[in-house]
């Protein structure tokens, strides 16, 4: 983990090459975090991966979070590791909910995909999409990964109702459509 001056140095260098990319830094509980502009997240990740002194070549986790009362509502976290120095860095991109305010449910928050940079992000972005409904622009195959494919709703959002679900018999419907009638 970079220490506090090191983190500031990284933020400074990124902002020099990509102005306005890093909006905030945080260092708490032994965890260094760069809060970045969601439009420039792929630039930041590419810089962190390819710059000679950084070499954060390994993405250990990509996950989303919902901070419902807060705005912007969603965040996508990228946990990076530099295998050479065994240092961890957390990149956090705050994503606003486009459906907030107008009450419409159709629009989904969007962010650029980083599958090109880290192939492991493929399934993890699909999971974030599945659970939180965050659309990753440029993802090669963005569809649900854990829930049934015709499932409706984003179950790990904080405003998702808690309770039992009805059973969907789509398994049988492949062979015999509308079998239940």
């Amino acid at each position: 983990m970079p220490d506090a001056p090191g983190l500031e140095l990284i933020a400074q260098e990124i902002n020099d090459s990509h102005p306005g990319a890093v909006t905030e830094t945080a260092l708490e509980h032994g965890r260094a975090t760069l809060v970045v502009n969601p439009g420039k997240v792929t630039d930041v990740l590419r810089w962190l991966r390819d710059t000679e002194e950084q070499r954060y070549t390994f993405m250990s986790s990509l996950h989303a979070a919902d901070y419902l009362p807060a705005t912007p509502r969603f965040a996508v976290h990228y946990e990076l590791i530099s295998r050479e120095r065994m240092e961890r860095l957390n990149v956090k991109a705050l994503v606003a909910d486009p459906a907030a305010g107008n009450g419409a449910g159709g629009e989904l928050p969007e962010i650029d995909s980083c599958v090109e940079l880290y192939p492991t992000a493929d399934f993890q972005e699909r999971e974030a999409y599945d659970m939180f409904g965050i659309r990753f622009r440029g993802h090669p195959d963005l569809r649900r990964i854990l829930m049934p494919e015709d499932y409706e709703g984003w179950p790990q959002r904080r405003d998702f109702p808690v309770g039992g679900e009805e059973v969907l018999f789509t398994h049988n419907e492949i062979d015999t459509p509308r079998w239940f009638e």
Binding site: G164, V167, F169, H171, N172
Partner: protein, 243 residues
């Protein structure tokens, strides 16, 4: 710890008593006489009564079914570990004739739902159940497959009987193998038509059967009870009139 071994004190039935040589010889001669046709009316009656017992075909069939159940080799979650130990030497499902776990639902009679059923798994479980041949039975093992258990969320079906019929619910999280064996014995008794599982009698709920409800014009049990109460004055009311 010292293990104490002792014989279980079961009294042998008369036909299990060891026979002496003379008795066996006499029996043999009796059978030969019968076959020759030497036994007449009463003697023949007595012979038949001694050596033949009658039952209905259905009872015999159910007896055979209940004592040769083939469970499916099918585990869903952590309860499956307890289900596996049900077959091992300590619990020993083989005592009840069910040690042959079949790897195919087509050969199985019993499906033990051992664990939570997720909504993605539910259609698969239902397909397995549909592939089993009649007669077939289902034991919902543990809290999750009975009611959803601790998983009151978007991923888990809240009780397997939402999508398939379940005969026995075994509570526990997970149940001990002994508990599942108890449930299994209850299932055997249910198959043999014994009234041990008559929850309607226990809960005083006769008249709530589906057929009783479906019959047009059948008054509900509550209505019958209300009518009975209206006709018969309660003891308190009688005392009031006496006074």
């Amino acid at each position: 710890m010292e293990v104490e071994r002792r014989k279980l004190g079961r009294v042998p039935a008369p036909w299990e008593q060891p026979k002496t040589g003379e008795e066996l010889r006499a029996k043999q001669i009796r059978a030969r006489e019968m076959l020759r046709g030497d036994l007449t009316d009463e003697e023949l009656e007595a012979y038949v009564e001694r050596s033949v017992f009658t039952t209905t075909l259905e009872k015999g069939l159910n007896w055979a079914r209940a004592n040769s159940i083939f469970p499916a080799t099918f585990g869903l979650a952590c309860c499956a570990i307890e289900m596996m130990s049900m077959v091992t030497a300590r619990a020993d499902l083989a005592r009840f004739g069910a040690e042959a776990l079949r790897a195919s639902p087509r050969q199985a009679d019993l499906l033990i739902l051992s664990g939570r059923v997720s909504i993605k798994m539910a259609p698969v479980v239902r397909r397995l159940y549909d592939q089993m041949l009649e007669p077939k039975w289902v034991i919902a093992m543990g809290a999750c497959s009975s009611s959803g258990g601790m998983f009151a969320n978007y991923a888990v079906v809240q009780g397997a009987d939402k999508f398939m019929p379940v005969d026995i619910h075994v509570p526990g999280c997970p149940p001990r193998p002994e508990a599942v064996l108890h449930g299994f014995n209850k299932l055997q008794r249910m198959i043999q038509g014994q009234p041990d599982l008559g929850w309607r009698q226990r809960y005083n709920a006769s008249g709530t059967e589906e057929w009783a409800r479906l019959e047009p014009g059948t008054p509900s049990p509550e209505a019958i009870e209300a009518a009975a109460r209206a006709v018969e004055p309660t003891p308190a009311a009688e005392e009031a009139t006496d006074a």
